[in-house]
């Protein structure tokens, strides 16, 4: 039954060269060559693949010939018999298309055949747009054909195709579609979004698939800068005469927004996908939305996931929405305050947190209570923090204090200064105040406005002037010196770690010999270190 390459070649040549209808039965034979792919083995498939690819490439010109001969458009038939023949050809063509889609959607591993099928299918879309239009040169886009492709693309599924690092799909067919068609052609973008929007409304079309896979494919297609609505997009049209409807930008936005929200609300997305989405939110999602505030639910969900980084990124997105699109989000700073956890000082994304918090707290209209709560909490956390963290927190607090001078009371409370030249009753008053003082700060209070931090004092920072690392100790001394510097550039302090600290030490040259211990402390491995039996 299976034909060899030569036979295929002769058949195709015969069909392409002459208009003889007697050969048309060969098409049936050729189209039926495609096997069912649903449970094909990789080993056997490898033998068949070259023939099948050849077959696909051979059939494409045949159908193109049919298009030029006008034999696929039944409305153009002049007689009843011809119409019947044309209908027969059309059926043949449809079966070819379904074969191609079958190849695309069901091959469970990477194959060149699927890619070839995709290319061929897109060629056919182009041909259809030219030849199946209502009359010559009439604008037409075969959106039904595209929809079939969409279904096939989202159905196509093989194991471990989701990139663990950024949650993108690794499916080559999807990537090929995204790269060579979606990102290049404006009409494909428009009809893709339109058809997809229709598809999402259908009850059980997409939701039956694995949600992670769906999101991965969606991300792979959408994660680029060359959008229909982008200002400086460099796009072409795929079909020669696309319909006027395509220029409706609002419609595109609406569709895109719908689709995004559909995918984001799917549920069951992986953390990396959340992260990737949050990272591209500003540049690649929000600009194409009608009402970006609709993303609020998604952002709140991401915050509630519990992952520290995700929460932070979600807050970043929310902040953007608040800043640009007037989103009302009353509990924003409370949520931010909750992120200042004891673990914060010991994790890698500390610098990112401080960078963003610097941005969030940059407004001078935030209440002093809130700022004081942040300062006090950060200061408290430095008590068990590594030097790198301390080095980044100290200038941060300095900048906050400089921006919110009301909080300076935490560093300097003139009521408690004992002046030696003061009146005796004043001295007594100060003494009494000192003895009466109770630290009102509540570390466990979840609401930053109610922590009473402003009534507390930053003893933690004072203690850090006694830190074992000389540079940290010196840096901590800025709080006891006059606040002359306008602000510290945070970037200079954020990225210190044990690694960089040690590197700085190890590369230091010996200029003077290090000082030696002169006292005798008994045997080094005996009573020098107590409580250890060597």
């Amino acid at each position: 039954m299976a034909l060899t390459k030569d036979e295929i070649a002769t058949c195709a040549k015969r069909l392409a060269s002459s208009n003889d209808r007697r050969h048309y039965n060969d098409i049936v034979k050729l189209v039926s060559q495609y096997p069912t792919m649903s449970n094909v083995e990789l080993g056997t498939f490898e033998n068949e693949e070259p023939t099948l690819r050849y077959l696909t490439l051979a059939l494409l010109p045949v159908f193109r010939k049919l298009f030029t001969r006008g034999q696929l458009n039944p409305t153009k038939a002049s007689s009843a018999s011809e119409k019947q023949f044309f209908l027969w050809c059309r059926k043949l063509y449809n079966s070819f298309k379904s074969k191609l889609l079958h190849c695309i959607s069901t091959i469970p591993f990477e194959s060149s055949l699927a890619l070839d099928c995709l290319d061929a299918y897109m060629q056919l879309i182009n041909q259809e747009a030219i030849h199946l239009a209502s009359h010559e040169d009439a604008p037409f886009f075969p959106n039904k054909t595209l929809k079939a492709l969409l279904v096939a693309l989202f159905k196509c599924d093989f194991p471990s195709s989701v990139d663990a690092a950024d949650g993108h799909s690794k499916n080559p067919v999807v990537l090929e579609f995204a790269q060579s068609y979606y990102q290049k052609y404006v009409d494909i973008q428009y009809y893709f979004q339109a058809e997809l929007a229709g598809l999402t409304l259908e009850p059980d079309s997409l939701k039956n698939h694995d949600h992670t896979q769906l999101m991965a494919k969606w991300l792979s297609i959408m994660n680029h800068d060359n959008h229909y609505t982008s200002g400086d997009a460099d796009l072409e049209i795929f079909v020669p005469q696309p319909p006027q409807a395509m220029e409706n930008e609002n419609q595109f936005r609406t569709n895109l927004e719908k689709n995004w929200l559909f995918f984001l609300n799917l549920g069951g997305l992986s953390a990396t996908q959340y992260k990737t989405t949050l990272l591209i939110l500003h540049k690649r999602v929000i600009p194409h939305f009608h009402t970006p505030t609709k993303l609020m639910d998604f952002l709140t969900d991401s915050y509630d996931l519990g992952d520290h980084v995700l929460s932070l990124l979600a807050l970043n997105g929310l902040f953007e929405l608040m800043k640009r699109y007037n989103l009302e989000y009353p509990r924003f700073y409370t949520k931010l305050y909750h992120l200042v956890t004891p673990g914060l000082m010991h994790v890698k994304h500390r610098s990112r947190f401080l960078r963003l918090t610097d941005l969030f707290l940059s407004s001078t209209h935030i209440s002093a209570n809130l700022i004081a709560a942040f300062i006090k909490r950060l200061a408290r956390l430095t008590l068990d923090a590594p030097p790198g963290a301390i080095v980044s927190v100290l200038p941060f607090i300095y900048n906050l204090l400089k921006k919110h001078p009301t909080c300076m009371i935490m560093l300097h409370d003139p009521d408690y200064i004992s002046n030696t030249f003061a009146e005796p009753d004043q001295v007594a008053l100060v003494k009494e105040r000192r003895s009466q003082y109770q630290d009102p700060y509540q570390m466990d209070e979840p609401n930053p406005e109610l922590t009473n931090a402003i009534g507390s004092s930053l003893w933690e920072l004072d203690s850090l002037t006694n830190h074992y690392h000389p540079n940290v100790a010196t840096l901590a001394k800025i709080f006891s010196q006059p606040f002359r510097k306008h602000s510290y550039n945070m970037e200079d302090f954020l990225d210190w770690s044990y690694d960089s600290l040690l590197q700085a030490e190890v590369t230091r040259r010996l200029k003077i010999s290090p000082a030696l211990e002169f006292e005798e402390q008994g045997a080094p491995l005996g009573n020098y270190i107590t409580c250890v039996n060597w």
């Binding site: 008590l383 009521d415 203690s463 030490e505 003077i512 080094p524």
Partner: protein, 816 residues
């Protein structure tokens, strides 16, 4: 003005009553008139000078006042100066100065200061004096006479006679004649002369007749001729002798060749003993002269010295601790400069392992016979016997076949053999060896579980004490090795985070603390070690008993580091919290309910037993050997010991370091929930209760009140609003509020003025000088011409006189 100047003058003189008829009527009384004149003299002079001024309009310089004055009186001219007079004064002064200069010219000379460096400002007083002294010395030694005043100087002249050259190099004379003739009495051949003289003296009684000059000269010539002849004779004789020897030379040589060689050998044999003698003599000569030994110090004095030394070191340490490095530097240099004294130096009393070559060797350390051997060894080629290991493997090979107990003495042997004074390059070898030794000690500790631990520990201790004494001299190489090791540990820890820590790392940190001064504000070795320990404490995953125990020991070491400087180590807080939580025997759920979930634990199966069944729970000593064993079974007792150990460390930290911090209540607050949780489980664990008591006590003692860190003088804010002057006076030069600036401007103006004035003066001076020169030249010219004219005149008169004389003669002759 009407009329000529003369008429005007006459008129004004008359008006004043100086000329013409005076009060004729009043002049009747004679005495009265004269009196009046006397009285008027001053006024008269004033009047005259006024008239004079009036008639010479250029005598006065007038300043025209441009602005009409306030009073309306327009006094058009105001006398401001008398240029003529001031010019004249200046001229006079210049002339006086010029004359004074002229007078001094070619007459007064300066004294050239030839002394060395008297004006050299770079030299200090002491250096100047030293230089003067050396100059003086050189001058004396180079001149023939060491000192002109040295009486003992001319030793050859036993009888300094009157005729000999005196101090001043001249001869004594009498009436211009040398007195040296008296010398002749010495000479025997002149004795005859003497008798002759006495004979002659007998004849004519008076003094000998004074020889005439011709006679003296003759005598001198005769004498010199005689001496010349003598010399020629001697020369001839010598030449003859030389010629003879030359002729016989071949014969002599052949004879010498014929002498048997044995004879020379015997001579050399004799020489060898002589030589030995010579050598000995020379050695004795070169030997240090006996110097009175220092007085033996009493015990009290020694103690006092030690105390002072310690105080000095302590002071330097405190300076370093507070970060004042300049002073510390000096001391470091001092350690460096110890040089060869190091071995006999300060720690000679300590361990008795100071190893000097031969002479100063400690007898307690090594038996006598051994000493002799070592002496010989060290002086001959020991290097061939004892290699100086330059790599870790070399040292391993060297020590491989020996007993553990012998290691220290073997290492000492190496050090002894490579004393820097014994050969060049030994210093470098030993400095490399220091690093090798350090690495070897560390590698020894990794084989901990193998041998007998106690013995190994002792050996290590001894090696470390050796290393410590080496550290004083080879500080740099040791520090470099320490830096490398720090880096190694860091990299190893980064690559394998879970079980990165080794026993050797702990030993290394201990060793660094033992050798180096850990209290410094910044220390090249200790600071990186601190950072690294912080990293290890913070980032080690506490997922095995071993890791927790190592962390506990590391915490101990870190506390020991900070025992003097009392600096705060946040990582310790973190480690204590985390470790105590890990060991806390309650489930995760309970932990949440007690608010203890703030810190994530790495492991849940390291819980200590929920209750203690044994009594010896106070034991808080950790055995490193037990901990480091890979497959050791962790008993419950060990866990309790670990808990106790950590609690003891917390206790230490609180009572030594944290109690001085202002944030003590905050620190205590973090531990409070953990402590209560522990107390519920172990109500009678002793360290727990003591720690709780301590917390309570410190809390009551500690005064916790708000800070006042910014208690500075308030900063002044610069003002930018313009300031208006109430009563502005244009006469006033400047209203600059900046005091210094206005003063500066004033000074500048003054300078400019002075400069202008001085330039003017200098110009005037030069003009005056030029005028003077021209005058002088003119004067010289006129003098010359006058002189020449006079001479010509004289000649012509003489000529004329001669001519007339000649004429007269001629006329006379003709007339004859």
């Amino acid at each position: 003005m009407a009329g000529s100047q003369l008429k005007e003058l006459k008129k004004s003189l008359k008006e004043q009553g100086f000329t013409g008829q005076t009060n004729v009527k009043k002049g009747s009384k004679k005495g009265n008139k004269r009196q009046a004149r006397e009285y008027d003299r001053d006024e008269r002079a004033q009047q005259i000078s006024k008239i004079r001024e009036q008639f010479s309009p250029f005598e006065l310089k007038m300043n025209r006042d441009k602005r009409p004055s306030q009073t309306g009186k327009n006094t058009a001219h105001k006398a401001a100066g008398k240029p003529g007079i001031s010019k004249q004064i200046g001229e006079e002064q210049r002339l006086a100065a010029h004359e004074a200069r002229e007078r001094r010219k070619n007459k007064l000379g300066g004294v050239m200061d030839r002394r060395f460096g008297e004006k050299n400002k770079d030299l200090t007083e002491e250096e100047k004096m030293l230089e003067r002294f050396t100059r003086e010395r050189q001058a004396q030694s180079s001149s023939k006479k060491k000192s002109i005043f040295n009486l003992d100087d001319d030793e050859n002249e036993d009888f300094p006679t009157a005729g000999s050259e005196d101090l001043y190099g001249g001869t004594l004379t009498h009436y211009g004649k040398s007195l040296a003739v008296e010398d002749d009495f010495e000479d025997g051949d002149l004795g005859l002369d003497q008798t002759k003289r006495s004979a002659s003296g007998f004849e004519d009684e008076g003094p000998a007749r004074k020889k005439t000059k011709a006679e003296v000269m003759k005598e001198v010539i005769a004498k010199s001729k005689f001496y010349k002849q003598e010399r020629q004779k001697a020369k001839e004789k010598l030449a003859e002798e030389i010629e003879d020897v030359d002729e016989e030379f071949d014969d002599i040589m052949s004879e010498l060749a014929a002498i048997p060689k044995q004879k020379t050998q015997s001579i050399t044999k004799e020489d060898s003993s002589d030589k030995q003698y010579d050598v000995q003599v020379r050695e004795l000569g070169l030997e240090k002269r006996a110097v009175p030994a220092d007085r033996t110090k009493t015990q009290e004095e020694i103690d006092q010295e030690n105390l002072e030394k310690r105080q000095k070191l302590e002071q330097a340490r405190i300076h370093r601790m507070s970060g004042m490095d300049g002073i510390g530097e000096d001391d470091d240099q001092g350690v460096e400069d110890l040089g060869d004294d190091f071995w006999v130096g300060e720690n000679s009393e300590d361990e008795g392992e100071h190893v000097d070559n031969g002479f100063d060797m400690d007898d307690v350390q090594l038996p006598g016979d051994d000493r002799g051997k070592h002496l010989e060894n060290s002086q001959t080629a020991v290097s061939s016997i004892v290699p100086c290991p330059q790599t870790h493997d070399d040292l391993m090979d060297y020590l491989e076949n020996h007993n553990l107990q012998e290691y220290p003495s073997l290492v000492k042997g190496i050090i002894r053999a490579y004393q820097p004074r014994l050969a060049a390059g030994n210093k470098e070898l030993l400095s490399t060896f220091t690093g090798v030794l350090l690495r070897y000690i560390l590698s020894l500790s990794d084989s901990y579980s193998d041998g007998d631990a106690k013995e190994l520990g002792e050996t290590q201790n001894e090696l470390i004490t050796i290393l410590k004494s080496m550290a004083q001299k080879y500080n740099d190489s040791l520090s470099l090795t320490c830096q490398e090791i720090v880096n190694d540990i860091h990299l190893r820890f980064k690559s394998q985070r879970s079980h990165g820590l080794l026993v050797s790392d702990l030993v290394f940190f201990t060793l660094v603390g033992y050798i180096f001064s850990t209290s410094d504000h910044y220390h090249l070795v200790v600071t990186p070690c601190n950072v690294l320990m912080g990293e290890l404490l913070e980032q080690t995953k506490l997922n095995s008993f071993r890791n927790v125990a190592f962390g506990a020991i590391l915490a101990r070491i870190s506390l020991t580091y900070q025992r003097l400087a009392e600096r705060f180590v946040p990582e310790l807080v973190y480690f204590f919290e985390k470790a105590l939580l890990t060991l806390l025997p309650i489930s995760k759920k309970d932990r949440l309910s007690k608010g203890l979930s703030v810190i994530k634990c790495d492991s849940n199966d390291l819980k200590a037993p929920s209750s203690i069944s044994f009594k010896e729970s106070d034991e808080c000593t950790l055995s490193l050997r037990l901990v480091s064993a890979e497959d050791a079974q962790v008993t419950e007792k060990d866990k309790i010991a670990l808990v106790c150990n950590i609690l003891a460390s917390v206790d230490d930290a609180v009572s030594k370091i944290w109690k001085n911090l202002s944030c003590l209540p905050e620190l205590v607050a973090t531990f409070e929930p953990i402590m209560t949780a522990y107390r519920q489980h172990y109500p009678d664990l002793k360290p727990l209760s003591t720690l709780a008591d301590k917390f309570k006590r410190l809390e009551t003692l500690n005064e916790h009140y708000p800070l006042a860190l910014q208690n500075h003088r308030p900063l002044s804010i610069p003002m930018h609003t313009p300031k208006f002057e109430e009563s502005f006076n244009p006469e006033k030069k400047s209203y600059d509020p900046d005091r210094t600036r206005s003063e500066l401007n004033k000074m500048k103006a003054q300078l400019k003025k002075d400069r202008k004035f001085t330039m003017k003066e200098i110009r005037k001076d030069t003009k005056f000088e030029a005028r003077q020169q021209i005058d002088q030249k003119k004067k010289e010219h006129s003098d010359y011409h006058a002189r020449m004219a006079r001479i010509v005149n004289q000649i012509s008169t003489e000529e004329g006189a001669e001519k007339s004389k000649y004429e007269r003669e001629k006329r006379l002759r003709n007339s004859k």
